[in-house]
Every structure is written in C-alpha cells, then in structure tokens.
C-alpha cells in the first residue's frame, strides 16, 4: 500500500469542497497529478495543490492507496466522498460529509467530524475518535435511503438524527447521543453505550437500538414486552425489550408483524 500525505498549508478563507480527497480519485496518480485535482472554494474552482502540500505517490488502485490528511481541515468538506477501497487517516477534525456515500475501505478520524458524516454509507468502516455531528449515517435530504451497510464507531458523543432512514449496517457510539435515533429506519442497528436523550425510534419500521445508559423520555409508541439476556458489542447484560413504533406501518413476515426493537440495559 502506498501512502500519500496531504498537509494543509494555505487554509481557505471560506470552506473547501474537496470531494477529490479519496483513494479512488488519487489511485494511479503521482503527487504532482494529485495536486492538480479540482476542488471548490465557494463558486471558485481551484486545485488541491493550492491549499495542500502533497507528498508521495498513490498506489495503482484505490485499494493500494492510503491517504494521510494533516493540518487543520476543520473547514474541508466531503473527505472520502464515495470511496470504495483503500484508507484515509485524518489526523485532526474534519467538516461535513466525511465518508458520504462511501462503499468500502476505511476512514479514521482522530478528532471530530461535523454533520452528515457517512451519509447513505453502503459499506466499509469508519472510526471517529472524537465526536460526531448531526445526521451520522443518515439519508441525504429528501432521500429515504440512509446507511445500508458497513460499520461506524464513534468513541465520543454523537449529535441528533443518528441513522435517520437507516436500512442496514451498524453504528456504535461509546458516548452519549442527542435526540432522534433511527427515525424512519427500516433496518440496521445502533448501539449507544452512554446515555440517550429522547425520541428514539420514532416512526421506525424495523431495526434495533441498544442503550446501555439512560433514556430521558421514551417514545409512547414503544411497548414494553419482556426482558432478555443479550451479548451486545462484546458485553453480556440483561436488557428491557420494547417493540415499536406501534403507530407506524409494519411488514409481516410469515404472518407475524415485524416491529423495531429497543433494548435498554437494566
């Protein structure tokens, strides 16, 4: 695997849309060619090299390419956009849409990410060592297809609307989570090791939510059914089991109505 290191040297006055920072766009290119890749600051077209110092050549394919992003990229959007393979390591914090629509490969962020990370993610892995903003693994605005595959780990806290319209895959949040988890979801699972606020599973059709900490307010559409012993994310514990959203439409499988599940650790 070949490593390309890009280091922020001329920070943008506004924000940078750099959807070309991905192993797929870098693959097969030399450092000089990578520096020529297009980026946008507002309506102004520019090149990656104008803002970043690029060292190292990329591998022949995306899978052979590792990108290390250094310097302050808090004002850079779309890092890892649509990546299918390879690896990105962001040494600090990044702005919105990190790993949006990604299909494969791995993104590691040492700091925080802003909103819309992993929008409509289909596969691959994302590790956020800091906090995640709102709409993690959610659908894009107006779309009904959120995250459908892959795995996200947030070591800190997450904002609101985690997994909105989620269809599959897994999100683990080690810290706390703001309102609205898996709204409108039709699959997948979200594990919250810290505390959750409220509005979990509203309008949820299918999917699983696990909460290890407290829940401020439960949705009335979640009905208590029983207690179960489960091993979740490597931890064995007893959980109170709720099904819902009983106000929402649900499919039947083999004549039985399938609900979303909410498990709260007792």
């Amino acid at each position: 695997m070949d490593t390309v290191t890009i280091t922020m040297k001329n920070a943008p006055a506004l924000y940078l849309e750099a959807d070309t920072i991905s192993p797929d766009a870098f693959a097969g290119k030399s450092a000089a060619q990578i520096a020529e890749l297009p980026v946008f600051e507002g309506n102004n077209p520019s090149t990656l090299g104008k803002y970043f110092e690029v060292t190292g050549n990329a591998g022949a394919t995306a899978a052979d390419t590792r990108i290390v992003v250094k310097g302050d990229v808090k004002r850079v959007k779309y890092i890892g956009f649509r990546m299918t393979a390879g690896e990105i390591v962001i040494e600090g914090s990044a702005d919105q849409y990190v790993g949006g629509w990604m299909k494969g490969g791995k993104i590691t962020v040492r700091g925080n990410v802003d909103a819309f990370a992993a929008t409509a993610m289909k596969g691959g892995e994302m590790v956020i060592e800091g906090n995640a903003g709102n709409y993690l693994g959610a659908a894009y605005r107006g779309d009904w297809r959120g995250m459908s595959g892959g795995k996200i780990l947030v070591k800190g806290n997450a904002g609101s609307d985690v997994g909105m319209y989620m269809l599959g895959g897994e999100i683990v949040i080690n810290g706390n989570c703001d309102v609205h988890v898996m709204t409108h979801a039709e699959g997948g699972r979200v594990i919250i090791r810290g505390n959750a606020a409220s509005k979990l599973g509203g309008q949820m059709v299918e999917g699983d939510i696990y909460v290890f900490g407290s829940i401020d307010v439960m949705m009335p559409g979640f009905k208590p059914v029983d207690e179960v012993e489960l091993t979740v994310d490597g931890t064995k514990a007893k959980f109170a089991h709720f099904i819902g959203d009983t106000g929402e439409r649900h499919k039947k499988k083999k004549g039985v109505v399938v609900y979303g599940n909410l498990y709260k650790k007792i």
């Binding site: 506004l14 507002g42 605005r141 107006g142 309102v179 509005k199 559409g221 959203d245 106000g247």
Partner: protein
C-alpha cells in the same frame, strides 16, 4: 374628493385577505383610510404614508455615516459585490412579489450564489417534511365550506393571523358548515394558554418540546395500541378522546405554526403530523396546512421550486442546484463563516437571526433592499429603499394554501422611488455585463 378602491389584497400575513377597501386622495398620491383589514394589516398600509421614509439609496461611509447615492450607483455597487464574491448569500424574498423573486433567481444563477427565503426561520422544516413524506392538503375555501374538525397546533391565529378564523377556519358559514362556529369542533395544542386556546373545545396543553411524542401517541391511539398513562404531560385517556374526536368528523384540518416547526424535533414534528393526517384519512377526510407568516413566503418557495427544484436554502455555487438545510441554510452559512457577501431583500434577518449570524453579516459586503429602516439595514453597507409591494406596486403573491393572488397598487410611491423588480432588473443587467453573460 376621495376615491375608494375595493377588493384590495392585504400584503402582510399569509392569510392574504382580498376584501380590503382603501380610500385614497383624488390624485392617487395619499392613502387616507383602510377598511376591513385587521390592526396589523391596516398598520402595514398606513406605514407607507409615514413622512420619515428613506427615499434614496444610502451607502455607509468609512466613519459609519450614510451617504445618499443614486439608484444607478447602488445597482453598480450591488452587481460588483455579487460578481466578486465566492459565496454570496441572497436571503429574504418573502415580502416581495413573484416577478421580483424570479429576477432575483436569475441574478443568483449568474452570481452562483446561495439563495434562501424566510422559511429558513419558520416553515423550512415543514418543507423538509413535505419532501420526506408528502402533503395531503387543500385550499382555505374547502375548509370554510367543509371542515368540521379544526386543529391549531403550535400556532396562535388570534394574534398572528387575526382574520384567519373569521374568514376561513372557525366562524364562516360555508356550504356544508351552515352553522358556522357551531358546526365545528376546535382543538388547540399549545403549551401556553393563548387567546386561541381559550376559544377551543379541547385544549391539549402539551409539555414544551414533546409534540413529537404527543403526535406519536395519537397515531398509537388510532390503532388502539398500548399507551403509557401520561404522554407529554397529557393523560392517555384525554389523548384517546381527542383521537376519537378527530376520527368522528366529516372533514378535518390540522393548521400548524412555528410552535412545532421551530421547537425540538423541528421537521420530525411536521413529518409525524403529516403521518397523523394520513392515518386519519383511513377514517374520514383530513388535510394539513402550514400557517405561513409573511404574505408571500409561499410564493418564494413556489418560485424557487419552479426554477431550481427546491423551495428554499438552495446552493448554486457549483453551477447546479443543491439543497441540504444544515449545510445550505442561511443561519448555518452565516454562523459557520461560509459566505463572503450578504444580499437581503424583503426580510429582516437582523431582527430574526441569532446574534452570531447577524455579526457575520456585519463583517462582509452587504446590501439590504427594504422600504423600512430595519436592524438589517442598520448592519448593511448599502440600503436601497423601494416602493411598498402590494401598496405602491402590484405583483403576484401566494396565499398560505398555495393559491396565487395578484396584489394591487393603490397609491403612488414617493417621487422617483423604484420597485424591487425595477432595481433587481438593473442589477441583473449590470451583473450580466460583468460576468460576460449578456
């Protein structure tokens, strides 16, 4: 001698009353009296007659004082600032006509700007929900003639849309609602005991920020499923009664306002309220309608949607239209420091945006097109006063139920004063020259 003009449209709130009578002086230069309008509507008409109006564009000097300039100079400044900016934001549009909005969109496209209307701080969340799950709606005329279950959720028309209840929703005797108020049941959902709530048959005093839970509980109640004893501060029994009351009507309507669109859960509140409406259609006929505030905010959404495909918060910087409130919405753009030029028309973000966003306006090149002196004109570099739309010039507007109504000119603007449309057309011509797009 005076003249009385009938069937005038009130350019204040989204009710867009079309039965106003205005008395003007014989030469058509003075507006003397207004009849039929509510207090706020009357004020809007009379305000155009105040003697301390700014009638010429003014530009801010180095020392902070204003210097009067010509409309030509103002158009030059605006076009140059738009041409130079990497990410201009063109905000407002809700108090001007559709014709001006359309020219504004042409400017935005050439300047590759972000454009947004006041939905950003009121019913934008509604528009998000509508895109997510659709909107079973109707016109105000249908409500007047048919509706026998009226729900006001998070809105207070007694004060914000004063003639709404008398013209459409509660009091009028319609074709199938011959007994007026007696033929209707009124439910108000509001954490406060407002003047509207005091009139209601049922007042559900929901806990602040728990509308989403209450709406969910209604859906559960329709299905006859299990409910906790109390939801959002309201006993389950009362929720089930309200659910039955809604189901038992012949035609129901949910009107909702900023109490739900801008409180916790925002778009989700509307999303689930639309789902409630959809559920109710399994038992009876039900509709839902946002109580739009500015008289032509609905029109702005229509014009944006018609020209760009999205109703607000449109980002054209890459040469095609993108829409993602949170990223492309005005307050976020300003607070995050994403824009380098601010263009405001027919709105007052200086008074309605959070202070951090207003500070961002003060830092960049800024133009404010507004007949009034406002907090926004106060922080802007250029203030362009224009004629009062709907009083001193006509133009197309959309009522809250998406019915287009042409506003009328009833009085002459002060000598030499331009309209929004004239000024924007001047800016557009200049911008085309600067960008070589002519």
């Amino acid at each position: 001698m005076t003249k009385t003009i009938t069937d005038v449209i009130c350019p204040f709130c989204g009710t867009l009353c079309d039965d106003i009578e205005v008395t003007v002086s014989d030469d058509g230069k003075k507006l003397l009296e207004v009849a039929n309008a509510c207090v706020i509507g009357t004020e809007k008409f009379l305000h155009s007659q105040s003697t301390d109006r700014v009638t010429k564009p003014r530009i801010r000097q180095e020392d902070g004082s204003w210097k009067t300039i010509s409309y030509e100079e103002a158009a030059d400044y605006t076009a140059k600032a738009l041409a130079k900016a990497k990410k201009p934001l063109m905000y407002g549009w809700s108090s001007t006509n559709c014709e001006a909005q359309s020219v504004g969109n042409e400017i935005a496209e050439i300047a590759k700007a972000c454009c947004d209307n006041t939905a950003a701080v009121c019913h934008g969340t509604t528009l998000i929900a509508v895109q997510d799950i659709g909107l079973p709606t109707c016109t105000l005329g249908e409500i007047k003639n048919r509706a026998d279950r009226i729900i006001f959720w998070g809105c207070n028309p007694a004060h914000a849309h004063p003639r709404h209840m008398s013209r459409y929703s509660i009091f009028p005797r319609g074709f199938f609602t011959g007994k007026g108020q007696m033929s209707r049941k009124m439910i108000v959902v509001d954490p406060r005991c407002t003047d509207t709530a005091r009139m209601a048959d049922v007042h559900l005093q929901v806990e602040q920020g728990r509308d989403y839970e209450l709406l969910n509980a209604l859906r559960v109640a329709f299905k006859g499923e299990w409910l906790p004893d109390v939801v959002a501060g309201i006993p389950a029994e009362k929720i089930r009664e309200a659910a039955d009351l809604m189901k038992s009507g012949r035609f129901g309507i949910i009107f909702f306002g900023m109490g739900v669109t801008q409180s916790l859960s925002k778009n989700h509140n509307i999303d689930i309220a639309i789902a409630v409406t959809k559920d109710l259609n399994e038992y009876t006929k039900f509709s839902i309608m946002p109580m739009r505030g500015h008289y032509n905010v609905t029109g702005s959404g229509e014009v944006f949607a018609w020209q760009f495909g999205f109703p607000y918060s449109v980002d054209l910087t890459r040469g095609f239209a993108r829409y993602n409130p949170g990223d492309s919405s005005s307050i976020d753009l300003l607070k995050r420091g994403e824009v380098d030029m601010m263009f405001t028309i027919g709105s007052d973000p200086g008074a309605h945006f959070p202070i951090s966003a207003v500070r961002a306006i003060a830092k960049v090149d800024s133009v404010c097109i507004d007949p009034h002196i406002t907090p926004t004109s106060g922080v802007s570099k250029l203030h362009v006063p224009v004629a009062f739309n709907g009083v001193e010039c006509g133009g197309n507007c959309y009522r809250m139920d998406n019915v287009p109504i042409d506003c009328r000119k009833v009085v002459e603007p002060p000598e030499g004063m331009m309209t929004d449309l004239d000024f924007l057309t001047m800016v557009c011509t200049r911008l085309k020259k600067l960008k070589g797009a002519a």
